[in-house]
Symmetry: C2
Subunit: 321 residues, 2 copies
C-alpha cells in the first residue's frame, strides 16, 4: 500500500536524482484568477515530465536480480521517457513498446535515452501479447504507468515538495489542482499532502472526465472515447484499481476544462511564467484561471505536469494570445 511513509522513502531515493522543481507565480496570472496562483513546474523535470519520479523509484525497489534483467513499459509518451531515462541511469536494459504510428520524434527520443523500442501495428497486433512474450523470454519487469504502488509513491514526492513550499509561503489551506490521467500523480500528491490542510483535486479535459465521474459515483467509471482531445497525455480508459480508492478517500471534486482553455493556459504559461507546458499538463492552470468560481480560498496551487509538446501545437497555443 502507498502511504506517506513510503513517499518519504521515495523522496530520499529521488534526492539528487529528480529535480526539485520550482513553484512559479506571476501577478498577471493572479489577476486573471482572482487569487494567488502558484505553478509547480514539473515540465522542468528530467525528460520533461513528472513521470521520471515514479519510474525511478519503482526501478530502485526491484530485487537486484529483477533489476539486472531489465524493465518493460507500454507507452508512447511521458512514461516511456521516464522509464528509459531511469533505466539508463540504473545501467539496466529497458524495452518500450510503442505503436508504430507514434510520432517519429517520440520514438527517436526514447531510443536516444537508451531504450530498446519495439513497435507494433495497432490494427493487427496485440500489444499485451507482445509484451507478455518479451517479458517471459527475458524476465523483464513491467512498470505500469500508474497502477503500481511504487510508481504512486514516486509521483507522491511532488506532493511532499508542494507541502514544504506551501508552508514556506504561509499557505495552509488551498486546493492543489493536478492534471489527471490514471491517477498515479493525483493519488500520490493527495497522499503526499496528507499531513496538511491542502487538498488535491483532479483536472481533466471535458468529455474525458472518468476520474471526476468516478469520484461522484463512488465507483470506477470509464471514458466513452480515448481520442479526440489535444490533451492526449492525460487520456486514460479509467482510474486504476489502486489509484481510485486513494483519490476517493482523499481528493476534492474533479474539475474539467476545454481544449481551448488548455491552449490558452499553455500560452499564458509561456507569456507569464516562461515555461513550456503541453496541453495535458496545463489543464490544472486552465482550471485555476478560467473556473475560479469552483475554487475556494485566496491561493491555489497547480501542477504543470509536462512540457513535451511539439512546435506545431505550441504555435497553435500562442495564437490564442
Amino acid at each position: 500500500m502507498s502511504t506517506l511513509a513510503r513517499i518519504k522513502q521515495a523522496a530520499a531515493v529521488l534526492n539528487g536524482v529528480a529535480r526539485r522543481t520550482p513553484l512559479l507565480n506571476s501577478p498577471f496570472l493572479d489577476e486573471i484568477a482572482g487569487r494567488r496562483v502558484f505553478v509547480k513546474a514539473e515540465c522542468l523535470q528530467h525528460t520533461g515530465s513528472f513521470k521520471l519520479r515514479g519510474a525511478w523509484f519503482a526501478i530502485s525497489q526491484l530485487s537486484d536480480e529483477d533489476r539486472a534483467r531489465g524493465v518493460i513499459a507500454f507507452s508512447s509518451g511521458n512514461h516511456a521517457q521516464g522509464v528509459a531515462y531511469a533505466a539508463k541511469a540504473a545501467g539496466i536494459p529497458s524495452v518500450i513498446i510503442m505503436p508504430q504510428d507514434a510520432p517519429a520524434l517520440k520514438i527517436a527520443n526514447t531510443r536516444a535515452l537508451g531504450a530498446e523500442v519495439v513497435l507494433y501495428d495497432r490494427a493487427t497486433e496485440d500489444r499485451d501479447a507482445i509484451g507478455e512474450k518479451l517479458s517471459s523470454a527475458r524476465g523483464l519487469t513491467l512498470i505500469k504507468p500508474f497502477d503500481n504502488t511504487d510508481v504512486i509513491a514516486g509521483q507522491g514526492t511532488v506532493g511532499l515538495e508542494i507541502a514544504q513550499d506551501a508552508a514556506a509561503l504561509g499557505i495552509t489551506h488551498a486546493d492543489v489542482l493536478v492534471c489527471c490521467g490514471g491517477g498515479g500523480l493525483t493519488g500520490g500528491v493527495a497522499l503526499g499532502l496528507s499531513e496538511t490542510d491542502l487538498r488535491a483535486r483532479p483536472v481533466e479535459p471535458v468529455g474525458f472526465d472518468d476520474v471526476a465521474r468516478s469520484l461522484r459515483a463512488g465507483t470506477i467509471e470509464g471514458n466513452a472515447a480515448l481520442t479526440g482531445s489535444i490533451c492526449d497525455a492525460i487520456i486514460t480508459p479509467a482510474p486504476g484499481n489502486l489509484t481510485f480508492p486513494i483519490m476517493a478517500q482523499r481528493c476534492g471534486p474533479g474539475m474539467t476544462v476545454t481544449d481551448d482553455e488548455a491552449l490558452r493556459a499553455v500560452a499564458l504559461a509561456f507569456q507569464r511564467l516562461k515555461i513550456v507546458v503541453e496541453p495535458g499538463g496545463a489543464v490544472s492552470l486552465a482550471a485555476a484561471l478560467f473556473h475560479a468560481d469552483q475554487i475556494e480560498g485566496d491561493a491555489v496551487i497547480c501542477v504543470a505536469t509536462g512540457g513535451n509538446v511539439d512546435a506545431e501545437m505550441f504555435t497553435r497555443a500562442l495564437g490564442t494570445l
Copy 2:
C-alpha cells in the same frame, strides 16, 4: 567598488525575494555541444529576467529618505520591469521613461507592475533632459541599468549561485557563458565566481561585439550600430566605465553568435529544457552549442538571461526546428 563581499551582502538581501533559479540540462544538448551543458534559467526569475536582482539590491541600499522619494529608470525592456517590480514591492514610486514607439505590451506590463510610465518622442525629445527634469522636481534616484556598483553586486548573485551549484555537481573548471549587454551581469558573475576556477565569458551578437573587442583592445570600444539584431535585450553602446575594468580583469575572451544561431538556441531550449528564452538571452547557449571549438573542458555553464519574447518571434524560432 563591487566586490565578492558586496555580492554576498546582496545575496542575503535577495534571499526569499529573487528566485533561486535552477541549473537545467539535457542529454540531447550535451550531444550537440560535445560536452555537458548546464543552463542557469534566469528567464524563470520574477519579471522574466535577472534584472530584478540588481534593481532590488540597488533600491535596498538607498537611504530611507531617497527611497521614500522613489526611483527612475530609462528602459523599454527587462530593466524597466525589474525596477518597477522592486519599487512596488518596496512600496515606493517608480518612473520609467520609455520611447513612445515601445511595444504596447511592454508599456502595459511595466504599468501593471506599478510604475508610472513617461513616454517620449525619440525624434523630437531628449530622453535625458526629461529624466533630469523629473528627477530634480521629485527627488527621484536614477537606477542605471548596469554602470552602478549595487546593480552589479545584485546581478553578481547569479555567479554565487552558479559557484554553489557547480561545486555540488563536481564541476571545478569550466567556462560560464553570459549574454552580455553593458556588462552588469557579466561583471557581476565574474566577481561572484572569484573564489572558484570557473571563468565568466561574455557572449554577444555578431556585429554588436563591443565587449569582446574592448577586451581584446584593453580599452572601451563601442558598437557602430544599435539596431539590426533580434537580440535587442543585449545591444548597448559600449561597456560601462565600472563594468569594463571588472571584465578586463576577470573575464575570458568574448564569443559571438549569429541571430540564426540564437534563434536555434531558443528553439532547442524550448524542445529540450522546456523554458522560454528570448533571443538575446539565448546567445550563451548558442555559443555552447554551435561554437564548441572555442570552449575548453568537459562542461560549460550558460546563463539564459531572460524570457521576455513575444509570440511572433518565438514562433519564428520554432520554425528552425
